[in-house]
Symmetry: C2
Subunit: 313 residues, 2 copies
């Protein structure tokens, strides 16, 4: 093997009420990461496209390089690898950009080495990469790596569980062209919350998991939106949140929540057709607010990250 | 109709990590409540057996009478009803004693009137009765009324959902002979909790609901026990908690949690045979501690409260 290419999808963490524990993988957009052997030891950056020059080229500060190096170490390899990163998704947008780069690099480097590690064994290296951007959290990394809707009640592979994807679930996503740094979005969260809020939050999370297992999209959507802790603290950082929610629902969406740390918003719809109508409605909202945005319809990806190309010598 | 008798089962609220939202109905023990027409208006107490004289005979302070009166009002009846209450379960033991009396009275009075109210419509009257003992909480009332394992994310009937009963689930219960007042057990809870604890708690609740839907008793048990908020605050009020947990597990239990506000402890087992062995082990624990106790094996009751006798004139 002398080249391997992996696709790592955007992810929606939290999906509303599931702060730091739930996430889902999208079928688009995503990062594409190519790994090739190199004479330079460790994992280095051969090139980055599509980031507007914002991502660090220093391997110690680049999530993809850190994840790739962690794979090399776990596999006991002393070879050098160079990565070419095509960013398909914007940084600091709430779509799991750092997780996608980390997971994509882990999958690509593992493929280049001939798959010495299992998918489960790629979790820790992926988290190592993600950690330099936002600490050890699996809520984006897990769905990006494993696909589908994931529950992470810890950061070990056995603490991550796949949930079924309710029939018909379609999403409409809008990313207004403002950046919300994850660190800032974390800083506004309360350090402590009332016990009563915990009761409400656990009740809504329980309702959400039940709704997922019973294929009840309306209940799922209502439960996602019933977040009494995180959204209230972050809402002021999300331009157009309430206008977008109103417009999305008027266009047929069942709910709208903040994707990860925002500012991307994620609307839950019962069909792809509705999702397309909601996309148009969301574009109108930001046009009226005089703010640029990128909006798209998406489905949940069963697959997560995948090896696209493995080229032999 | 001139007499109706209802059986209302004991219930285990919280089942560990699901504080104030989860509960389950047991097939034994329970309260048996008889309702007969009376010339005295409203709902009065004809007799109470098995309470050691502790329950109030004043209709305004008796959960059964308050629930029964609420049924009369909801049904638009002006008849008088007298209740005979046979307490099968001890008060202040964490087995939903006040809820059983309230629900049993609601079901019995409704049967006496010829079933004017649906099961869903009996929720509000049952909660009215429970409320005078411990406020408006559905975590005991819901399983007592509807049976099975229930999720209550509110106190309206549409906010209460039945969860499946995992195959093989058997319980061992032990009630040490000390009283823990619900008010006291609530007073020791923290008013605020760290956000990090909420993340752990929501993660464990999500895992618990998933385990219930996937028939995974081991994961269910582990999730139930992963309570980082309520058990740590209440453990000191529960004599023998840690000894009981150790002994129960040595005898084959998968987990042991506080039932409701305690002091009853509830061990989760994968078979009735194991539950019987755990019962013996738990009796040994309290014998060694020099404390009397009542221990029993039980299953989850599908049915909840039921009308046992309806005698026509």
């Amino acid at each position: 093997m002398n080249k391997a290419v992996a696709f790592a999808p955007a992810t929606v963490a939290n999906i509303g009420v599931g702060f730091d524990i739930l996430g889902l993988a999208l079928d688009n957009p995503g990062d594409t990461i190519s790994a090739e052997f190199s004479d330079t030891p460790g994992v280095t950056v051969a090139g980055i496209e599509g980031d507007g020059g914002k991502l660090p080229r220093d391997p110690n500060k680049n999530t993809a390089c850190v994840a790739g190096l962690s794979v090399l170490r776990a596999a006991g390899s002393t070879q050098g690898v160079a990565l070419t990163i095509q960013k398909g998704l914007p940084a600091a947008s709430g779509l799991g950009s750092s997780a996608a780069s980390a997971v994509g690099a882990a999958v690509a480097v593992n493929a280049l080495l001939g798959e010495p590690l299992t998918r489960d064994q790629l979790l820790a290296p992926s988290l190592d990469g993600e950690a330099i951007a936002s600490g050890y959290h699996a809520d984006n990394v897990a769905p990006c790596l494993f696909g589908g809707i994931t529950l992470s009640y810890g950061i070990e592979a056995h603490q991550i569980e796949r949930l079924p994807i309710p029939r018909g679930l379609s999403l409409a996503l809008v990313t207004p062209h403002v950046e919300v740094a994850t660190a800032m979005a974390r800083a506004v969260l309360p350090k402590e919350i009332p016990l009563k809020s915990m009761v409400k939050q656990t009740g809504s999370v329980a309702r959400l998991i039940r709704a997922i297992y019973t294929d009840d999209l309306e209940s799922m959507a209502a439960a996602m939106e019933a977040d009494v802790v995180v959204e209230p603290a972050r809402a002021h950082l999300m331009p157009g949140l309430f206008e977008a929610r109103r417009a999305a629902k008027a266009a047929g969406a069942l709910a709208l929540v903040i994707s990860g740390a925002g500012p991307t918003l994620c609307a839950v719809c019962a069909s792809h057709e509705t999702a397309l109508q909601v996309v148009s409605a969301l574009e109108m909202v930001y046009a009226e607010l005089g703010l640029g945005c990128t909006a798209r319809a998406a489905s949940v990806s069963e697959q997560g990250s995948s090896v696209q190309v493995s080229e032999g010598a």
